[in-house]
């Protein structure tokens, strides 16, 4: 499981923002839909846009622009002043909004722990499970080729 440190500067926050972005929308909605009603002010309503994705020549060399991807961003402020941000690939406005609200809640002393336990940990667990399942299917296709001496059949 991906360790989520409590508010360890940017590291902890980047870790939960990662989980919120990678989460399948159906999972996120199922686990966290009720948090969307947390009173908040929209600093930036959900907005769809583009991020230019980059690769590296020979995978480790100089960068180049590969092509764009859609992403949706959103920013909110809670009553106690906590600001939440989200950038999520794709065009799901509800996903970006809920992720921003959760990002704000996770920074608060009162609700942070609860949201970590009820949303982030289970999402991280599901991601790990689905990654493990995919890796096991790929591993089943691991192949050993034998080279034959020319003339052998």
């Amino acid at each position: 499981m991906i360790p989520i440190a409590p508010n360890e500067g940017h590291t902890g926050r980047a870790a939960w923002m990662r989980i919120l972005s990678l989460a399948d929308w159906r999972d996120l909605e199922q686990l966290a839909a009720h948090y969307a009603a947390t009173p908040h002010v929209m600093l930036r309503p959900p907005e769809a846009g583009l991020v230019m994705l980059r690769g590296r020549m020979g995978s480790t060399g100089a960068a180049f622009n590969l092509g764009e991807a859609t992403a949706t961003r959103c920013a909110v402020r809670l009553a106690d002043g906590a600001e939440g941000h989200a950038y999520v690939m794709g065009r799901n406005a509800a996903h970006a909004k809920l992720a921003a609200v959760l990002d704000a809640l996770l920074q608060t002393a009162e609700r942070g722990q609860e949201v970590r336990e009820r949303v982030i940990d289970p999402l991280a667990h599901r991601l790990t499970q689905s990654n493990v399942a995919a890796a096991a299917k790929a591993a089943a296709t691991k192949v050993d080729f034998f080279t034959m001496v020319r003339g052998d059949v």
């Binding site: 940017h10 980047a14 972005s21 480790t60 859609t70 790929a138």
Partner: protein, 363 residues
């Protein structure tokens, strides 16, 4: 030259309604859903995302449906759609070394650390039509291994690199050029060439790559490593000031090992060609890597004699939206232009025959 025409609104409107009806096809057959296209025509979606230069499976599926499966038309729709969205910025470069591998093969080494993973491939299928699909049968579930894969799969080319047998990847620093912001000019650096190839037409790049294999600018390639899998996308929003993962995508990467090169200063070593694409797009990634290497012929001091080595030829003709625009505009009304050609031709013929009567008749 194209001179604008006007009128015909009613006919055009009716033509588009007819198009919509033909696109729908037999109404007794259920309409496709975007989820069906995105889930089951995955490689068509990948191609539209690559050449449309926009990663969004849902938009690509919509474009394919709207274009009646004409992928170049779908790519055109995607290119148009991207112009309606604001640009947030540039991602951190994708870390393909940390890819969650679904497929990974090397044609150069049999035994590679982490192993050869065939993944979901058409390779080694018999290319016989599968009528169980026509019968609507569900496939068996995929086989599952008791243990997963190593998350750390060293790159095959690193094995060569550790012995100094292959050139280092280019390491120029600085902001890479961006064709979506500045038009292409020549000579083009490798960053711009790779961006152009990544959005270039798969068929065009395939043919160019094939031409190098048949002797038009030979590069003696080996598929050092092809990998397909998921990579996370990191982006640093200005307002946060630190990088966050915003999603993950499937990419295909191809590293070609090509003929060696040496000089008085450097001992002979293999050279590289690189391909990277959205989705599972092996043919495209391999073609891209071969053409990338061919276009490096100038930098590597090779004679430039073949089409695939001519960057102006390759980069100016790789974009199928530009190509189809210029070819297909020929079917739009060119009446005024053609009339002037007709008049000129009649006059020339009349002058050639020296017959004043014909000249008069022509005018």
């Amino acid at each position: 030259m194209y001179v604008a025409v006007k009128g015909g609104e009613q006919a055009i409107d009716a033509a588009h309604r007819l198009l919509a009806e033909e696109r729908r096809g037999d109404r007794s057959v259920p309409s496709l859903t975007l989820a069906q296209i995105a889930e089951q025509l995955t490689l068509a979606v990948d191609r539209v995302m690559n050449e449309g230069s926009l990663h969004d499976r849902e938009l690509a599926a919509l474009a394919i449906q709207q274009a009646r499966g004409d992928l170049i038309e779908a790519i055109f729709l995607i290119r148009a759609a991207r112009t309606t969205l604001p640009r947030f910025g540039y991602s951190e470069p994708l870390e393909t070394r940390r890819m969650r591998v679904k497929r990974r093969v090397s044609a150069a080494f049999k035994d590679i650390p982490g192993g050869q993973i065939l993944g979901p491939t058409f390779d080694y299928t018999h290319r016989l039509l599968d009528f169980s699909l026509a019968a609507g049968l569900e496939p068996p579930e995929a086989a599952v291994a008791p243990t997963g894969l190593s998350t750390d799969m060293p790159r095959v080319l690193e094995l060569l690199d550790s012995e100094g047998l292959i050139e280092k990847p280019s390491q120029e620093q600085g902001e890479p050029g961006d064709l979506t912001q500045d038009p292409l000019s020549f000579p083009a650096d490798r960053d711009l060439r790779l961006q152009n190839l990544a959005r270039g037409d798969e068929g065009f790049l395939l043919s160019l790559a094939y031409s190098t294999q048949r002797g038009y600018g030979r590069t003696h390639p080996f598929a050092g490593e092809i990998r397909v899998g998921m990579v996370e996308v990191s982006f640093t929003p200005e307002e946060l000031g630190f990088a966050i993962v915003i999603g993950e995508i499937t990419v295909t990467e191809c590293e070609m090992i090509n003929q060696f090169k040496g000089s008085a200063m450097v001992k002979p070593q293999f050279t590289r060609g690189y391909g990277l694409c959205f989705g599972q797009s092996e043919r495209k990634a391999m073609s891209m890597a071969l053409v990338d290497r061919s276009l490096r012929s100038g930098e590597l001091g090779e004679e430039r004699i073949a089409p695939a080595q001519d960057e102006e030829f390759v980069l100016s003709h790789s974009d199928n939206v530009q190509a189809t625009g210029f070819v297909e505009h020929l079917k739009l009304p060119h009446y005024v232009d053609f009339q002037s050609e007709l008049v000129m031709l009649r006059r020339m013929r009349a002058e050639a025959s020296g017959d004043g009567q014909t000249l008069k008749a022509a005018e």
